[in-house]
Amino acid sequence: MNTILVALRRDLLLAARRRSEVVTALFFFVVVVSLFPLGIGPEPAMLRRIGPGVLWVAALLATLLGLPRLFASDHADGTLEQMALSPRPFALLVAGKIAAHWLLCGLPLVLLAPLLGLQFNLNPGELQVLMLALLLGTPVLSLIGAIGAALTLGVRGGGTLLALLVLPLYVPTLIFGAGAVEAQSAGLGSSAQLSILGALLALAVFFAPWATTAALRIAIE
């Protein structure tokens, strides 16, 4: 646990010094969400229907934006190797880095989404479920995305390749995340979808750091 905190604090300190990157992903989220009404039309009933899906897809893309940088700078200046050689378990250090990524990229999305949800005429009940679903889902996005980031570390065309690798794996989270909000607006309970999101989160927390570490070792070789 201590190991995870060490890596988490380090990444937060570095992000604090590099302020600009965090905000860019947020702006991207806002801009992409605004594109959909512009492309489809502002009819309120239709916006209500597409709102959850649009917000979720935008959250996916915004997370993807921040992923290549997760390991790239540490890899470039050699600190990633030092982490691999540390007596502390590498997997826990990696878990700490992923946690930092979520705090910087995922959590702001969770907090900003209700505001954007208002643009799509979602009612408070739906907004609440949206926040909860994003709260459970965005860590899964960071965890699975980290595997892709580790696999494509230093590979040419990395960013787009990362998207190709990771987006199919994001599909379950997207389906249940958007589905939770839709269930809420249909008047059925969203507890089933939220529990499944919780289960996906538990699975991802358990397996993803391990897979990411394996991929990082392959990339460091």
Binding site: I147, L151, T152, V155, R156, G157, L161, L164, L165, L167, P168, L169, V171, P172, I175, F176, G179, E182, L200, F207, A211, A214, A215, I218, A219, E221
Partner: protein, 250 residues
């Protein structure tokens, strides 16, 4: 790679040098079997199986569509299996096998999508239906593309093998989750009206036809994989002496 002279004689074939001629000998047999089974399967499919009451003659394309979907799944599992073996035991040949299987699997996934689309057009008037199986097949196709793209983008073959293995293993774990989630999504949005998987009654002949075609595709996949792995072996081991001999004699 640890070239162990172990007790089992089969371990000899873990070396690319010894597997190469074996693959060459086996390949024509599988190709022949594939051809025979294809003829048998298509004959049943197009001539023997009865006309379907609701769908007319157009349904016969399922004799290609369903076996192709099955094979795309089976090949993904086989690919993940070989890639996993290659990663765990550091055996080059296993990873080469995984790389050899991937394009065939992708082709079957694409075939399944195209035939599914051709089947759907006369029935529902649209070229694409967001049916649970077709959508899962689409995502499986993306997973194949991801694997191929990753291996193509990494220049070092060792790293490409191992990164691909991690991706394939992560993919194989996710495929059931993806299938389940897509199925749930489909029932939520479309109801039970449209389904390509349900046939009111599957006559025995139809089942036989599909099984024969599935076996045919399986033999074809093995034949093609053997041919492809031979090429990969030649390419990777091109600096070894035996390769020069083999190429000269070819």
């Amino acid at each position: 790679m640890m070239e162990k002279t172990s007790a089992s004689p089969w371990m000899r074939y873990a070396s690319p040098a010894t597997f190469y001629p074996l693959a060459g000998k086996l390949q024509p047999w599988f190709a022949g079997l594939a051809a025979l089974l294809t003829i048998a399967g298509l004959w049943i499919g197009f001539f023997v199986a009865p006309t379907d009451a609701t769908q007319g003659e157009g349904y016969r394309i399922i004799f290609v569509h369903v076996p192709a979907s099955w094979m795309s799944m089976v090949i993904y599992c086989a690919m993940a299996f070989w890639a996993g073996i290659g990663l765990a035991f550091n055996t080059r040949l296993s990873s080469m096998m995984a790389s050899a299987l991937a394009p065939t699997g992708a082709i079957f996934a694409l075939l399944s999508l195209v035939t599914g689309s051709l089947w759907g057009k006369p029935m529902w008037g649209t070229w694409w239906v967001w049916d649970a199986r077709l959508t899962s097949e689409l995502i499986l196709f993306f997973l194949y593309l991801g694997f191929l793209a990753l291996q193509a983008a990494i220049e070092d073959p060792k790293r490409a093998d191992r990164a691909g293995a991690v991706l394939a293993l992560v993919g194989v774990v996710n495929v059931p989750i993806i299938y389940f989630s897509v199925k749930w999504w489909n029932t939520l949005h479309q109801g039970a009206t449209i389904s390509m998987t349900k046939s009111p009654s599957m006559a025995m002949t139809m089942l036989w036809g599909m099984l024969l075609m599935a076996l045919a595709f399986w033999m074809y996949s093995i034949a093609v994989a053997l041919a492809r792995v031979r090429n990969i072996i030649l390419e990777r081991e091109r600096h070894a002496d035996w390769v020069r001999g083999a190429v000269e004699n070819a």
